[in-house]
């Protein structure tokens, strides 16, 4: 690690002020950032810890019936507290990494990092969630902008993520057995006005919506509606764990499984 200063503010306003310094960076659970620092792949001048900010913790429901999750809420808390309100989201959170990772890793860190194999981005995109920051609200469709890139500006903090709760939903992850990240993960969410399908783990551009499947499933929410549909291997990730063709094939398989489990 390169040397850095450290601050642990207790309010969002203080954190924003601390992040105004050149090359300051937020630190949430550290489950991604600390390994990155150890590999000397980042060299922030200052780390601003978000874990002491009470207003960024916890799960609640707002007047519009949306599930609101504080940006610094650990995965384990989401797994426990979203279980009755949004079971598919709870199940996703309960299968991120392992229990020790889930006790520290947070939704804000995962969504800010936008790892192409991370789980949460698929739930955010499929649910049509809103990413709330210290100065604006960003629709999921505008938020994810490709591999590790998002609409976040330098020094901007995710304070909350708001999920509309679907009528039915399910997340299916084909686990990369060594890391337990998604080799391919598909989140399907059925709302009164249509179905949304988001795919993680597969594309070189990060999480994306499979619109063809959305159209078919909006007309007929059953695995059979996907018969004959496939995703092109162009632009899919190829590595020692799987070829682009394999990942493209898995997308259709996991989508069918998710629909079967949700319906």
């Amino acid at each position: 690690m390169y040397a850095f200063d450290f601050e642990k503010p207790t309010t969002v306003a203080e954190a924003v002020a601390a992040l105004a310094d050149d090359e300051a960076q937020p630190l949430s659970g550290g489950q991604t950032l600390i390994p990155t620092l150890k590999q000397r792949l980042a060299m922030p001048s200052k780390l601003v810890s978000l874990t002491g900010i009470a207003e960024m913790q916890g799960v609640c429901t707002n007047d519009a019936g949306q599930l609101c999750i504080g940006g610094a809420t650990p995965h384990a808390v989401v797994a426990a507290e979203a279980a009755s309100k949004y079971p598919a989201l709870s199940a996703l959170a309960s299968n991120i990494g392992d229990p020790a990772v889930r006790n520290r890793g947070t939704i804000g860190g995962s969504v800010a990092n936008n790892d192409p194999a991370a789980c949460y981005p698929s739930a955010v995109l499929a649910s049509g969630a809103t990413v709330v920051t210290n100065n604006r609200e960003i629709a999921a469709d505008d938020y994810f902008q490709g591999l590790f890139s998002t609409a976040l500006e330098e020094g901007e903090i995710i304070t909350e993520v708001r999920f509309p709760v679907p009528q039915a939903a399910n997340y299916q992850k084909f686990v990369q057995p060594a890391s337990r990240f998604a080799l391919v993960g598909v989140f399907v969410a059925k709302f009164a006005d249509g179905v949304r399908v988001a795919v993680t783990g597969a594309s070189n551009d990060g999480v994306f919506r499979w619109t063809e499947a959305e159209k078919a499933l909006s007309a007929n929410f059953s695995p059979d509606a996907l018969n004959g549909l496939s995703v092109s291997a162009d632009g899919m990730i190829g590595d020692l764990h799987g070829t682009p063709e394999y990942r493209a094939h898995l997308i259709a398989v996991m989508t069918k499984r998710a629909v079967a489990a949700a319906s």
């Binding site: 489950q31 600390i34 000397r40 001048s45 309960s94 020790a100 192409p116 070189n204």
Partner: protein, 211 residues
């Protein structure tokens, strides 16, 4: 973790960084392990309650909780396996929840309560989980064992607290302790010797004794 990525270094003062790197290479292994840093802007004094005892220490901000325990407090029961959150050898309990101490910085834990294997029991006064590991041969070389025992105790606490796991069928009903539940909840703790079957037996024994 993920596909190969071309990371971009963030800090503009990259030249300073490479100079630091060059210096580090020339240092002894011990110095490079981030011990005994001078107190400056990049060091912090933290107060931890470790195994019930208040400990104040001044650490380089880069010191992980694991290195603080092992190198500064000489509590070497907590092991370093991978140093990257993958193996669970460094598992200890912070404010009652288990964490990988290698993926936490000591400065993040000012005011926190930390429990390590040294705080759980001693050879002449073992915790029931330690006794069960001995009785069931829940280890061979023993390197992963402190982390396994920390996790094993947390598994039973988490089930009692009603925290569901990925293999829990009904997320809102009371959780039954099955082999699958225990295996899933112990998935973050790797045992290179492969003592898994006996670890499972030890945890099951304690669960049954406490039922």
């Amino acid at each position: 973790m993920s596909p190969a990525i071309n990371f971009e270094l963030r800090r503009r003062t990259f030249i300073a960084g490479t100079a630091v790197a060059a210096v580090t290479v020339g240092m002894s292994r011990k110095a490079a392990a981030q011990t005994a840093a001078p107190v400056g802007a990049e060091s912090t004094t933290v107060f931890l309650t470790v195994n019930g005892e208040g400990r104040e220490l001044t650490v380089d901000n880069r010191t992980t909780l694991l290195d603080a325990l092992r190198e500064h407090l000489q509590l070497t029961g907590t092991k370093k396996g991978c140093d990257h959150g993958q193996c669970g050898a460094c598992t200890c309990t912070v404010n009652g929840t288990r964490v990988n101490s290698c993926l936490s910085l000591a400065v993040m834990h000012d005011g926190d309560e930390v429990e390590t294997i040294e705080g759980i029991g001693a050879p002449d006064a073992m915790d029931p989980m330690q006794t069960a590991f001995v009785e069931n041969d829940g280890f061979q070389c023993g390197y992963c064992t402190p982390g396994q025992i920390q996790s094993a105790r947390a598994v039973l606490d988490e089930i009692r607290a009603g925290i569901p796991s990925h293999v829990t069928d009904d997320l809102t009903a009371e959780i039954t302790i099955t082999d699958a539940e225990i295996r899933e909840r112990m998935s973050g703790n790797i045992c290179r010797c492969g003592a898994y079957a006996n670890i499972l037996a030890a945890i099951t024994q304690v669960a049954e004794d406490q039922a």
